[in-house]
């Protein structure tokens, strides 16, 4: 089912490729990404063995892309998965318990959703010091809201289904219902949503870096490299701008393709995102 969607297969291959590039690449192309080398700053691609040139402080750009890819992938995956897990639990509980508990839980979701994401991120980021775990928590702190809403919808629909009513008639409790029936039946929605959440999280990392709230150097991520490359737009250092930009686009596209493929595979009712 999944591989009938050719784009999804391409997306999966791309993700595998980008993961290999970021995590295995440094083994084939070892570079120093800690010490600056100002004598060799802004070397053009191909010059002196720098396949993609160097940046403003002399880091090998190809090696830096591998190194930065690790952070982008880790933060994207961790934040996307954390948000999905938390959102699923929140939404399933709200939808299944219903009543005033549901009302309170969902008004909290509404309230957080009405603060535009980037404003919320920046508020949190003025309070915390940006490190990788903090970046993950910051992004997840916003990203769980949409999965929560979605799963709540599923869980309300499931609540009145015959097999749940039957289970209740046989004396099963709410906890058992959420655990064995609601979460299992909503698993398709959850997995599909997780892939889109990962894609969004990767973009959010980029935005946070652009707004000056990324992880400080010598750490790197594609978004940070892209946004610091923006200041090179009037000089002709194209290799500092386009490669990280293209890699972000590829990664986000891949996760979207895979998400679409999974949705077809799970036959989840087409959702309007």
């Amino acid at each position: 089912m999944f591989f009938e969607n050719r784009l999804a297969a391409v997306g999966l291959l791309l993700i595998v490729g980008l993961v290999a590039f970021s995590f295995l690449g440094p083994l084939l192309h070892p570079t120093d990404q800690v010490h600056t080398d100002l004598a060799n700053a802004y070397a053009a691609p191909g010059v002196e063995g720098y396949a993609l040139g160097t940046d403003g402080v002399g880091y090998d750009q190809l090696g830096r892309l591998m190194f930065g890819g690790q952070t982008s992938l880790i933060v994207g995956l961790a934040a996307g998965l954390l948000a999905t897990a938390f959102g699923t639990l929140w939404g399933a509980t709200a939808g299944f318990v219903g009543g005033w508990v549901d009302a309170v839980m969902m008004r909290v979701v509404d309230a957080l959703l009405s603060i535009p994401a980037l404003f919320l991120f920046m508020l949190i980021a003025t309070i915390i010091t940006p490190t990788v775990p903090m970046l993950v928590l910051t992004i997840a702190a916003f990203a769980w809201l949409n999965p929560a809403r979605m799963i709540r919808g599923d869980s309300i629909a499931l609540r009145s289904r015959d097999f749940i009513v039957a289970m209740r008639g046989m004396g099963g409790g709410s906890l058992r219902a959420v655990r064995t029936h609601v979460v299992r039946n909503a698993i398709g929605t959850v997995i599909v949503n997780a892939t889109f959440q990962i894609a969004d999280a990767i973009l959010y990392v980029a935005y946070l870096s652009f707004l000056g709230l990324g992880v400080p150097p010598p750490a790197a991520n594609w978004g940070g490299m892209l946004s610091s490359g923006l200041s090179e737009i009037y000089s002709s250092h194209w290799w500092l701008v386009y490669p990280p930009g293209i890699l972000i686009i590829l990664l986000v596209l891949s996760f979207n393709f895979v998400g679409d493929g999974l949705r077809d595979a799970f036959e989840v009712r087409l959702r309007k995102r």
């Binding site: 309230a111 959703l113 652009f210 707004l211 892209l226 737009i233 009037y234 930009g245």
Partner: protein, 318 residues
């Protein structure tokens, strides 16, 4: 109908109160405290204590929050010591500019995405559908600031057709007088929004094209174009009204990035600068106002939808 309006308004009020509480709670934990950020690093502990007492920051959290709500209700948004101006004045200057940017972008995105989405639905599974989907996905996957930069390279650096900087000016009149400067920022925000809008119009249109009334219309002998435009498209546009409401937060987020990239003197840029200097009153007020605008906007969109489509207000839970 009135019951629906009352219930949604009640929900919105609860949401607004919750937003003010959450923002206040978040900023209450600002490192160094509001006094330090207002008085600077050289302030003595005695000065900080005096400031905290004067502003009521030495009171318990809940009392402070109640005082804040009271001031908010009377339109007092606080005073920015760094800008030496009441925050309300700053917001009155800046908000209309952000609204202008966002409205223009939403308008352009809507005008382009309705025909595009309709074309996609009609040619579903054929080349034009795939082509538009691909372009929209690319637009979605491209970070907004990268997209903006590509437009700057294309239209100002290489061809110098358009200015790379947004209009600078105090009032809306000055901004509008320098309209060529608005084209790139609006285009950037519109392209990013377009991706979501076309996807939505397309799927809404596909749903409608499968309805019985479309088959009836065709069976009556109406021409294909007439069925699509008069029947399917008109009905597909109802959900788009609520989409406009749903996308207000995304627009504001986008405006934050675009204002920063093009140096457009709106509320997003002011907010960004306030995060850099930890200007507590501006952060608090801007977040509250933006959230308020979002809640009111989506409330209005829901009402408009309910007025346009009676099925919504009868179906109950949203």
């Amino acid at each position: 109908m009135w019951q629906y309006i009352l219930r949604r308004t009640g929900q919105a009020m609860v949401v607004i109160i919750l937003v003010t509480f959450l923002t206040f709670l978040l900023l209450h934990n600002l490192p160094g405290g509001a006094a330090r950020s207002a008085l600077g690093l050289d302030a003595t502990p005695a000065q900080i204590d005096a400031y905290n007492e004067q502003m009521g920051y030495d009171k318990p959290f809940l009392i402070q929050y109640m005082m804040y709500l009271g001031r908010l209700a009377s339109g007092d948004l606080g005073f920015s010591f760094q800008q030496n101006q009441p925050v309300a004045d700053l917001i009155v200057q800046r908000l209309p500019k952000t609204m202008l940017l966002s409205f223009l972008a939403a308008f352009v995105a809507l005008v382009v995405s309705i025909p595009l989405g309709a074309i996609q639905a009609v040619t579903r599974g054929k080349v034009p559908d795939y082509f538009v989907t691909a372009v929209a996905l690319f637009a979605y996957a491209t970070p907004l600031f990268f997209l903006g930069m590509l437009l700057i390279v294309l239209f100002s650096q290489t061809t110098s057709l358009l200015p790379p900087q947004a209009p600078q000016g105090f009032g809306l009149g000055e901004i509008l007088a320098d309209w060529p400067g608005l084209i790139l920022p609006v285009a950037t925000l519109a392209i990013a929004t377009l991706a979501a809008y076309t996807r939505y119009v397309r799927s809404s249109m596909i749903d409608n094209l499968q309805e019985n009334y479309i088959r009836t219309a065709k069976a009556k002998g109406l021409s294909g174009g007439r069925v699509v435009v008069r029947h399917a498209l008109r009905n597909s546009l109802f959900p788009v009204i609520s989409l406009l409401g749903m996308y207000i937060p995304a627009l504001f987020s986008g405006a934050l990035v675009v204002e920063q990239l093009f140096n457009y003197p709106g509320m997003g840029l002011m907010f960004w600068q306030a995060t850099q200097t930890r200007d507590f009153p501006i952060l608090l007020a801007t977040t509250t106002i933006v959230a308020l605008a979002t809640v009111i906007g989506s409330l209005l969109a829901d009402f408009a939808y309910a007025v346009a489509d009676p099925r919504v207000r009868l179906s109950g839970d949203s």
